[in-house]
């Protein structure tokens, strides 16, 4: 891509100073930054001394891909980081320097000087500890008795509050007071915030007691205790002499504070601010705080040439901005904004809207040759039912698709259910017998060509009192013939393997799964042989079981870990969401995603489909009774109360940022999907729909007047 003049300045000038770059999305800021990195490398700067810092890992992908493809005869392996990764790396490396600090409160051995290693907790292990240790506390004390949301969502918000404390920079024991002073009008609401505070404190106490480091504790340790140490600061600032910090508006005060210290110590830096951004507010992003870093930069450049949107989309952007009260200037364009949109004819119900979307996409792909990867379908929320319906319709239209959403819970996948049922059968000592229905399904999945009817017959005859019996035990010839000798022998192989296994000491669950997979289920004649999806699911389950064992066994050596794991999977606490596969999904396929997920991936496409345009979800925050993104931010004035006006104003702002952010990430056209009634049968008249209708009426009027 040819760079414009100001992009050129970013790419090849001011290489020994600090540069602040801003502009709307789609003006080529990241492109210019990538070229700047290449220039630095061509000028002899070691790639390892440049650090690319982004608010979330996916935003570094364009840098990595471009540098891997770069035709440069030098090292291009530039490290990338986020505040989370930096905190994890530094805590891991420098842990011995802080582990014994009394004020941190970690329990270290008093008998010796030995420093015990920390345990880094994944989100799924955080959920586990909350369920196991906080759950009973909540039950006993009747916390949150007026809040009607699932336990997992409750835990997520407690975690969220702790994360905000670390990322925004306030003490975790002030969470409740902050929320109460702004929002605790009623006694009931105050109780909720008190309970949220007690729960957060209880969880933190547990972490300190066992050296468990969740995300919030890692960030807090890094920002408050490691970064101030000269050894740590010297390590980072001497290794990374050049900083490229993209999307500072989506990053948190924790990042900004570190950068404020670090920037003066660099040889060069480029800070990039997406002027219309700030979408991650509910994760602690603080665009106002970010903008203050501008003063630390000697050179300021603004890019204002849109390089993504067509002229028509630019016109749509301006019209929509006017309708959403983001500007008082009446738009004036020589092209028609209406050419940038297409919308469904009168549609009453959601299924019709889904069919319309799938047919329109099929026409784009099959008739106009649009690559599927250039199309995204989004809605404010993407519940399973909507996603599934879309996938089904796209399948009918022979359009490839992928879902940018954590995959189904592992317990719902046939492959993992099969492994879990076999684990119950192989471990009668757990006293967790499998039910007959699950055994039949397991047999159908485990033995190739064994249909469910014959699998049920086998289960009926051979599964008694929690135990399988050998195939050779069947005395009914008609039944043996119906099953067939060949399938019967495969059953026998599986049976023999389980018998052999039970004659030895039980293995850890993940190792049991692995051996069972390798020695039986993936062998020819068995259900996982050559089944790549089943193999991926099995691998994810094994990873999850292994991580659970490795952490829990060190903290609670007396716990019956396999039993606990199986119970937690069944309850949806563990192995509930798996994120490892989708990030690298590069298939040429239509993307189905919640609107914010697409927005934050920051990858423009040719065509966008906005579904449920009438939904109020485009403007509203998620219902989070235990937390609040604005009150728990650094911009909130202590003592102020959150009012209805604040609510209306932030909803308006949320909608405008989202809608305009999406338009800026579209090259050709936006399809608007609207059904009169929602999935639940309510009439849909949300603010986005109103704004679009206002815009269309205005454009129609001005056309008529002309």
């Amino acid at each position: 891509m040819r760079l414009l003049k100001d992009q050129q300045r970013v790419a090849s000038e001011h290489l020994d100073t600090r540069l602040y770059l801003d502009g709307l999305a789609g003006t080529g800021k990241t492109t210019a930054a990538i070229e700047r990195v290449k220039t630095l490398i061509r000028n002899g700067v070691p790639a390892s001394s440049i650090l690319i810092w982004v608010p979330q890992a996916t935003l570094a992908i364009p840098y990595r891909q471009a540098l891997q493809r770069a035709r440069i005869d030098a090292d291009t392996n530039v490290p990338t980081t986020t505040i989370g990764k930096l905190a994890y790396d530094m805590v891991k490396l420098f842990w011995p320097m802080i582990a014994n600090k009394k004020e941190l409160g970690f329990q270290q051995s008093e008998q010796s000087n030995q420093i015990e290693d920390p345990h880094f907790l994944s989100l799924e292990l955080v959920q586990y500890y909350m369920t196991r240790h906080l759950g009973p506390e909540i039950d006993t004390n009747d916390y949150f008795n007026s809040v009607h949301i699932s336990r997992n969502r409750l835990y997520t918000q407690i975690v969220d509050n702790l994360n905000k404390a670390a990322l925004v920079g306030f003490a975790p024991d002030t969470i409740g007071d902050r929320l109460k002073s702004a929002l605790g009008e009623s006694v009931e609401q105050s109780f909720i915030y008190d309970d949220a505070q007690k729960s957060a404190a209880k969880f933190r106490e547990l972490c300190l007691q066992h050296n468990l480091l969740d995300f919030s504790l890692q960030v807090e340790l890094f920002v408050k205790h490691l970064w101030p140490l000269k050894e740590v600061q010297r390590y980072l600032t001497s290794n990374f002499r050049h900083l490229i910090v993209d999307n500072i508006e989506e990053d948190t005060p924790a990042s900004h504070d570190i950068l404020r210290d670090w920037l003066p110590q660099t040889d060069s830096a480029l800070l990039i601010n997406d002027s219309g951004g700030g979408y991650r507010r509910f994760l602690g992003a603080d665009p106002i705080n970010a903008a203050e870093l501008r003063d630390l930069c000697q050179v300021h450049i603004t890019l204002d040439n849109h390089r993504v949107m067509s002229k028509e989309l630019e016109a749509l952007h301006d019209e929509l901005a006017f309708s959403l009260h983001q500007t008082n200037d009446m738009p004036d364009s020589d092209v028609d904004a209406r050419d940038a949109i297409a919308y469904a004819p009168d549609i009453s119900y959601q299924p019709q809207m889904i069919t319309w979307a799938a047919e329109s996409i099929a026409a784009l792909v099959h008739e106009q040759g649009v690559p599927p990867r250039e199309i995204v379908i989004m809605a404010p929320y993407m519940p399973d039912a909507l996603r599934f319906s879309l996938q089904k319709e796209l399948d009918l239209q022979l359009v490839p698709h992928r879902s940018h959403r954590p995959s189904r819970a592992l317990r719902e996948e046939t492959a993992s259910r099969t492994l879990l049922t076999l684990a119950r059968l192989a471990h009668p000592q757990w006293n967790l017998p499998a039910n007959k229905f699950d055994v039949a399904n397991m047999l159908a999945a485990a033995i190739t060509e064994l249909d469910l009817i014959r699998a049920r017959l086998l289960a009926d005859v051979l599964y008694r009192q929690g135990k399988l019996a050998p195939f050779t035990g069947i005395t009914n010839d008609a039944l043996t013939q119906r099953i067939t000798f060949d399938l019967g022998m495969r059953y026998q192989t599986l049976f023999d393997w389980l018998q052999e296994y039970q004659s030895q000491d039980a293995l850890p669950l993940d190792i049991f799964f692995s051996k069972l997979f390798g020695e039986v289920l993936s062998q020819p004649g068995f259900g996982f042989h050559g089944q790549t999806d089943a193999a991926n699911v099995a691998a994810n389950l094994i990873d999850s079981a292994q991580a659970f064992r490795q952490t829990i066994s060190e903290i609670e050596p007396n716990l019956d870990i396999p039993v606990e794991y199986v119970k937690m999977v069944e309850e949806g606490v563990i192995a509930n969401q798996y994120l490892r596969d989708w990030e690298d999904d590069k298939r040429d396929a239509v993307l189905i995603a919640p609107a914010y997920t697409f927005l934050l991936a920051n990858q423009p496409v040719d065509y966008q489909f906005w579904l449920n345009v009438g939904s109020s979800g485009w403007a509203q925050r998620l219902y989070q009774p235990l937390t609040h993104p604005y009150v728990l931010s650094r911009q909130w004035q202590s003592g102020r109360r959150w009012t209805d006006d604040d609510e209306v104003r932030t909803d308006e702002q949320t909608l405008a940022y989202l809608a305009l952010g999406l338009v800026r990430r579209c090259r050709k056209q936006i399809y608007l999907g609207f059904s009169q009634y929602s999935e639940q049968g309510y009439e849909q008249r949300g603010d986005l729909l109103m704004a679009i209708q206002t815009m269309l009426r205005r454009l129609n009027r001005s056309e008529a007047n002309a």
């Binding site: 790639a47 011995p96 000087n113 015990e116 051996k515 193999a535 094994i542």
Partner: protein
């Protein structure tokens, strides 16, 4: 027909996999297919040794960034690892130049792609560039086998080709490069390999030839050396056996898998919220 994505990055592990078994390379790096069968018979012991190796490497990294040895020693609960660390303190850094880069990665162009090397320790002196690879294996392989391994080929080549930025803008002459394997479980026994321009040229030809061969491949055949299949997780997919091979007979315990595969992404906390 070229199956390689435009941004593909080769490494010593992927190239070694290709040389050992083209089908394994295809499954692992091109199709990115996971297949979770055991790699060895005794998985618990395998895991223990992996964890020991990882712990030892981490200790050396901590020591290299300036953490005092006595503080680090106080945190070691595994006797074997403590013994290895003591050996390292006694002789691991003998003759190692002062400008040290622990856990350092470099990439260089290779055909239309890039080639990555992850060094345990890179140490540069006035007329010496030393690559050290810390090994915790129970066996010290034969010298000729080590010499033939892609790690020896790739690491020296990458430093010679891509070390310019670390050497004041001048390429590091191959003759100054030494690759040293250091065996913690064998009192710090070393196996070292020098380098020269002729070998650099030969390595370039060899590596570029491998990449061209991969690009041109229509099919990725299975290895003829069936003994390898016992240590390969794809063995049942390829119908090459049921049971994993013996851990004790596996000489390559230090590099059984890419340690990258074990990295956990703690950033996911932000992703999940969406």
């Amino acid at each position: 027909m070229n199956h390689l994505p435009e941004d593909f990055v080769f490494s010593q592990s992927s190239l070694q996999d290709y040389v050992d078994c083209p089908r394994r390379f295809q499954l692992k790096y091109l199709l990115r297919q996971r297949y979770p069968a055991p790699e060895v018979d005794d998985l618990l012991e395998f895991e223990r040794r992996m964890a020991q190796g990882e712990r030892f490497h981490h200790l050396l990294h901590q020591h290299a960034v300036g953490l005092p040895a006595d503080v680090l020693q106080a945190g070691i609960s595994d006797d074997e690892v403590r013994g290895w660390f003591d050996t390292y303190l006694a002789n691991g850094l003998n003759g190692v130049p002062e400008r040290r880069y622990p856990e350092y990665s470099l990439t260089v162009p290779l055909g239309d792609y890039r080639l990555l090397a992850k060094f345990d320790l890179l140490a540069l002196g006035d007329d010496k560039a030393l690559i050290i690879d810390w090994k915790t294996s129970r066996h010290v392989p034969r010298r000729d086998r080590l010499q033939a391994r892609l790690q020896t080929v790739v690491y020296r080549y990458v430093l010679a080709k891509g070390g310019t930025a670390l050497n004041g803008g001048n390429p590091i002459p191959p003759e100054q490069i030494e690759m040293r394997y250091w065996y913690a479980d064998h009192d710090g026994q070393e196996v070292a390999f020098n380098y020269d321009a002729a070998q650099f040229k030969a390595d370039a030809d060899y590596l570029e030839g491998l990449v061209r061969e991969i690009e041109d491949r229509e099919r990725f055949p299975l290895t003829d050396d069936m003994a390898r299949c016992a240590y390969c997780t794809y063995r049942s997919l390829c119908e090459r056996g049921k049971y994993a091979g013996s851990l004790d007979e596996w000489e390559q315990i230090d590099e059984p898998t890419d340690l990258d595969d074990l990295d956990f992404d703690f950033d996911q906390i932000a992703e999940i919220a969406f």
